[in-house]
């Protein structure tokens, strides 16, 4: 049942030009960044060769690429998630799901899974770029796996926050703006209280601080747990919010 909703959501995304244009724009920008980073590598390759334990190709290209991808997707994911519930509420199509024999949990998880599928496609397309280097160079596949796992967790968190914001309103733009705002806030939390002892817990909450280790090839289960907790929290909030729709009217 969850899968039915998810597949419908996934297919519907591709019925509008939105999904296509997002895929195209993200690919174009990241492609440009990827190539420029590659250029840097080529420029410094002679010097790197001379150094002991110099950073390899993967270490130079990948963290930078994924770091940029995270920032760009921070802008993009709210545009994907904004319509999830808000648009259905506006078009009064939620009644179809509410009167079908489905629980709220199934509706929310279905919609979430639909977005995850799309983000997976996006992730796959991004992964193709560094993978293309395999044709002529060797890559640190472990670092790559860790980096993409981090990005996947991050995007799943973005989507959960976006989904929740979409359940709050019937205006898609409001949903987009507020999820963008929330995500950006989560991202820059570590800017506050730097240097002071009391401000550290804020920095701990920052999404960015839990993403960076993945890019360095460090898989810390605490970081993964942070993302999972974030996802679960916002999914539960979304379910509660939709339930309140029925109660409050």
């Amino acid at each position: 049942m969850i899968l039915t909703v998810a597949l419908r959501e996934f297919k519907s995304l591709f019925l509008s030009p939105l999904a296509w244009s997002i895929l195209a724009v993200v690919q174009l920008i990241l492609g440009f960044l990827f190539l420029s980073r590659l250029e840097v590598f080529q420029l410094y390759q002679p010097q790197l060769m001379a150094m002991d334990s110099a950073p390899g190709l993967t270490e130079i290209v990948l963290p930078d690429l994924l770091g940029n991808a995270a920032v760009i997707l921070l802008l993009i994911v709210p545009l994907l998630t904004m319509r999830l519930v808000a648009e259905e509420r506006r078009n009064r199509t939620l009644a179809l799901l509410f009167s079908a024999p489905l629980s709220m949990t199934e509706i929310v998880l279905g919609k979430y899974l639909g977005i995850l599928l799309f983000l997976l496609v996006l992730l796959g397309m991004i992964a193709l770029m560094p993978l293309s280097l395999l044709a002529g160079a060797s890559l640190d596949l472990g670092l790559m796996a860790s980096g993409f796992l981090g990005l996947a967790l991050l995007l799943a968190g973005f989507a959960a926050v976006g989904l929740f914001m979409s359940t709050l309103t019937q205006y898609t733009t409001v949903a987009a703006i507020s999820s963008f705002g929330a995500l950006l806030l989560f991202w820059i939390l570590d800017w506050s209280g730097q240097g002071t002892a009391g401000g550290n817990w804020l920095a701990y909450l920052s999404l960015f601080n839990h993403y960076k280790p993945f890019l360095e090839g460090v898989f810390d289960s605490a970081d993964a747990a942070y993302h999972v907790l974030l996802i679960v929290t916002f999914l539960v909030l979304s379910i509660r919010r939709l339930d309140a729709d029925r109660l409050g009217g």
Binding site: R92, T93, L96, A100, P101, L102, G249
Partner: protein, 326 residues
């Protein structure tokens, strides 16, 4: 046609903040019955239907659908209903076939039977030939039909239709009414409307709701009885004196209408039609119109919805009359 109870509603109530939209409403629907739900705007029709369909939680009371309590076992209860809200829940970017397949899947129609369920629903709603068209490009009438098809695709025992004929042209209205009658043979149908003739045309049972309270719960035969008030409307080119008519056997009173017609109230058992006809011939009154003055449903409706707050109902009355004449 069996007569097992499909929907049982007991003491339903619903608050919106301090406003009580539905007050202690109880009724039931049996299989093979079309229940007409009537009421002025804002009377609580839609709220009641949203509650029965599980879109809105009641503040109090219980809803049992085919033996399943809607609050305790929502999944089982909801699988027994098909619901068409006021505004059909259509995805404009899908084709009719895609949409109906999705609805079938949502309602747990097994994969192998989905094509058949879809064809069946399309057949019944007259949707042949539009299966591959985008819903957004269909006319309002066809969209409404897709909405009904969506509600019956899983052949639910209970079908709830909220104002299904709004915005349709007269031919489409007739078709939809025929469809509702057809559905009423096997399913239990709840139909809400504020168009009174629609109820007379399609329903077996009538309920009038006003300000959240049920003010009438009557079978259509019972309603007919309600409406057969003993009166005649007559019109003459050379009208006799009013007393002449009043003295006829069985006549209780005569009331002139503004347009020159006379309204003759008589004893239920003594119909003076024959006498009036004979006298009109003999005295050349120039009789050009005579018809039984049945109390229209509209009048019953107004009578029932009026007494709560007379001026409020007055405000509604012109709107309803306008609707009837349009």
């Amino acid at each position: 046609m069996s007569h097992n109870t499909l929907v049982e509603i007991r003491n339903l109530s619903r608050f919106y903040g301090a406003l009580q939209a539905v007050k202690d409403v109880s009724f039931s629907i049996r299989q093979g019955e079309v229940l007409g739900f009537l009421g002025p705007n804002g009377a609580g029709k839609t709220t009641t239907m949203q509650i029965i369909s599980g879109n809105l939680a009641p503040s109090g009371g219980s809803v049992t659908i085919a033996g399943h309590d809607l609050l305790e076992d929502p999944r089982a209860a909801k699988s027994q209903i098909g619901y068409l809200p006021e505004q059909p829940p259509l995805y404009r970017e899908l084709t009719v076939d895609e949409y109906l397949d999705y609805c079938a899947a949502l309602n747990h129609v097994p994969r192998a039977q989905r094509v058949q369920a879809r064809d069946n629903a399309k057949e019944r709603c007259g949707l042949h030939g539009v299966g591959r068209r985008l819903i957004g490009n269909l006319s309002k009438g066809f969209q409404q039909r897709v909405g009904i098809a969506q509600a019956i695709i899983h052949l639910p025992p209970v079908v709830i239709l909220d104002e299904p004929t709004v915005g349709l042209d007269p031919i489409q209205i007739r078709e939809i009414r025929a469809l509702i009658r057809e559905l009423g043979k096997e399913h239990g149908v709840i139909l809400s409307t504020h168009i009174l003739p629609e109820v007379q045309a399609t329903c077996d049972h009538v309920q009038i709701i006003n300000k959240g309270e049920l003010v009438l719960n009557e079978s259509i035969e019972g309603l007919e009885h309600h409406m057969k008030a003993a009166s005649l409307t007559v019109a003459f080119r050379h009208p006799p004196a009013q007393e002449t008519l009043e003295k006829l056997p069985g006549v209780k009173s005569v009331r002139p209408e503004t347009d020159g017609r006379l309204h003759v109230f008589h004893e239920a058992e003594q119909n003076p039609t024959d006498t009036i006809l004979r006298l009109a011939m003999e005295n050349s009154w120039g009789l050009y119109e005579i018809r039984p003055g049945r109390l229209s449903l509209e009048q019953v409706f107004l009578e029932l919805t009026m007494d709560a707050a007379a001026d409020d109902a007055q405000a509604h009355a012109p709107a309803i009359t306008a609707e009837l004449s349009s």
